[in-house]
């Protein structure tokens, strides 16, 4: 009875197409933002910022990026790690060569650079789809990491082969590297993610989003009704790679502060982000957040339970985690292939009727 839409009539198309037509949803979002921006910084401690909140946000953005490409436009990609790496290393090179350039611009421009790379590796999508396209993106994944590894220029010839972000400020507050307070890093990440998630949500419900979904659902028909397939797919690659690149830049700048290419390989990024959008829900911005929360939190929870709670050896716990993780993926795919976002929707539908059963 709380979630009723009774009395909420839309008197204009604008109101009907609003982001959150139901008033209760609007309040819920507002509440979430208030909590995220005002309450969390006051109550969370460093562990929570570093191990949970910031990676959750960073990967949520990467998941949004992959969701745009795979969930909305139907182009399967296993190259997320490679593109995140491009974002991270672009940010590194830019800020070390142009130290006066504001880090916000550095992050955004890294996204643009990654978008350009994304367009390049998206070209094969004109001729190939499905698994075959996944192979092309795998080629991107391996090749990009190899390039970043091979040429010392990318790491400023550092002997360790890894990159570290120097301290940078926004409004006189240090937001990068170990010198920055976790709260600061959290807030700037949150700001980026909020703005870009909103932009993504707007984008997918406009004509461009519709053209992506048309390609996904039946690309032959899409072409026949006047959509240019290559252009639409490349646009998806570009926007998706932008998001993934920004996520990569934030990974380096605001989360870990250092990185090497291994951090961005298949098992550390490409697969987990893919799981995020599958479990969270393909074609759903909310799903990207839910999936990121799931994938970030479950391993932490499991480790704490097994090693902390049951006193297992770390190695054994790791094996068990892998088993449970794999099982949960299979479980989710069986029970709700459309992900947590669909479960959420179903829950909301039930809530509309509550306390009535139907």
């Amino acid at each position: 009875m709380f979630y009723r839409e009774t009395g909420q009539f839309k008197t204009s198309y604008a109101a009907d197409q609003a982001l959150l037509p139901i008033a209760q949803d609007r309040y819920a979002l507002l509440a979430t933002l208030v909590i995220a921006f005002l309450v969390v910084p006051l109550v969370a401690n460093e562990y929570w910022f570093q191990a949970v909140l910031i990676p959750f946000l960073v990967f949520a953005l990467a998941a949004i990026g992959l969701n745009i490409l795979t969930g909305y436009c139907g182009q399967l990609s296993l190259g997320t790690g490679g593109f995140m790496a491009v974002g991270a290393y672009s940010a590194y090179k830019m800020t070390t060569n142009l130290p006066d350039l504001n880090i916000v611009f550095v992050v955004l421009i890294s996204g643009v650079i990654t978008a350009a790379v994304g367009i390049l590796f998206g070209l094969p999508s004109l001729r190939i789809k499905g698994f075959y396209l996944a192979v092309a993106t795998l080629a991107a994944q391996f090749f990009l990491l190899w390039v970043l590894n091979k040429f010392g220029w990318f790491v400023n010839y550092s002997p360790s082969g890894s990159i570290a972000i120097p301290p940078r400020q926004v409004f006189d507050v240090t937001v990068t590297s170990a010198h920055a307070a976790p709260v600061a890093r959290y807030l700037i990440t949150l700001s980026f993610v909020t703005v870009l998630a909103l932009a993504a949500k707007n984008l997918v419900r406009g004509s461009i989003g519709r053209s992506w979904m048309a390609i996904r659902d039946m690309d032959v028909a899409a072409e026949i009704i006047g959509i240019k397939p290559l252009q639409t797919k490349l646009l998806a690659f570009a926007v998706s790679s932008f998001y993934v690149g920004v996520a990569g830049a934030m990974f380096l700048c605001f989360w870990l502060g250092t990185a090497e290419t291994e951090a961005f390989d298949l098992l550390n990024v490409s697969f987990p982000v893919l799981f995020m959008i599958i479990i969270g829900g393909l074609g759903s911005i909310l799903g990207s957040f839910l999936g990121s929360a799931f994938i970030t939190l479950v391993p932490i929870f499991l480790t704490n339970a097994f090693v902390g709670g049951l006193g297992m050896q770390a190695v054994t716990a790791k094996h068990l985690e892998i088993i449970i993780f794999g099982s949960m993926i299979i479980f989710f795919l069986i029970v709700e292939p459309h992900g947590l976002a669909r479960l959420w929707q179903i829950m909301k539908e039930k809530l509309r009727l509550w306390p009535f059963p139907y």
Binding site: N202, G206, M213, D217, A221, I224, I225, G226, I227, L235
Partner: protein, 285 residues
């Protein structure tokens, strides 16, 4: 049936010939000696006919006659090995499908080709994409405008929504506008597909068996809509249809195909009694 002379295009009265003021040589689409083959299979052999502006042309024939292939050639999905298509006065037989769409050719499909996971409203809105500018620069601007939404993108979206709602009213599908089309019954899906085709404001509408699988009531509704489209908007229509009574009632002229060749052409009443046509359908001399 009263003849309404719309402001855009005069409608050809099957009884009295082309309406006054319409040039009888005002040919929208001309198919000349088109032949199409897939490997060894000849889908079309030396087919020629014209479609005049504003008319409803039926393409009929037994199964496998090549009717769908003919439509596919017209909208650029297949490219004929021989022959030319002349559309709006320009010869074009190697046209790509999305160019055809931009030139004003829209179509529906035998097996409904809707975007199953999207709602009715969204499906019809995708039909509008044929009218949007789509150069690379336009697209980049659109990305920025649409991600911000407020301002020009919103105004544009509202205009599109209004136009599409007009079509939704016209085809009486208001109650299902938010339903994912995959969940709709077949008859309604076909109507949504028609709506999507209309959204592109086509000059030439190709309908591939629009009545297939419908009961009598649905067929009457669909016939009414097709006639309205032709009379109100002046849209030229080429339709493939098996139901003879529909063909009689709706069409101005008929082309008959069999085994990829044209075997007859003319007014519906002429074709209906043509012995060649009867033989093709019934196999009886």
């Amino acid at each position: 049936m009263t003849i309404e002379v719309s402001e855009r295009e005069p409608h050809a009265d099957p009884v009295s010939g082309p309406a006054a003021g319409q040039d009888s040589n005002d040919i929208l689409l001309s198919v000349e000696h088109v032949s199409l083959a897939f490997g060894g299979v000849k889908a079309l052999t030396d087919v020629s006919f014209d479609i005049r502006r504003g008319e409803i042309r039926a393409i009929i024939g037994p199964n496998g006659a090549g009717k769908t292939s003919m439509l596919n050639v017209i909208n650029g999905f297949y490219h004929p090995q021989q022959g030319t298509i002349t559309y709006k006065g320009e010869k074009r037989s190697q046209m790509k499908p999305h160019d055809a769409a931009k030139q004003g050719i829209a179509r529906t499909f035998q097996n409904v080709a809707l975007f199953k996971q999207m709602s009715t409203l969204d499906n019809i809105m995708t039909g509008r994409l044929a009218k949007m500018p789509d150069s690379a620069w336009n697209k980049i601007v659109q990305v920025f405008a649409q991600s911000i939404y407020l301002g020009p993108a919103k105004a544009f979206e509202m205009k599109e929504r209004e136009f599409v709602e007009g079509i939704i009213d016209f085809l009486e599908i208001q109650p299902i506008r938010k339903t994912p089309v995959g969940r709709l019954p077949y008859g309604l899906q076909k109507r949504v597909e028609l709506a999507r085709a209309l959204a592109a404001e086509p000059d030439l509408l190709l309908l591939d068996e629009p009545m297939a699988g419908m009961n009598l009531e649905e067929k009457e509704d669909m016939s009414r809509f097709i006639l309205d489209v032709n009379q109100q908007y002046g849209t030229t229509i080429a339709l493939i249809e098996h139901d003879m009574s529909v063909v009689m009632d709706l069409s101005d002229f008929v082309v008959v195909l069999d085994h990829g060749e044209k075997i007859s052409e003319g007014l519906p009443s002429e074709v209906q009694s043509d012995p060649v046509v009867l033989k093709a359908y019934l196999g009886v001399g």
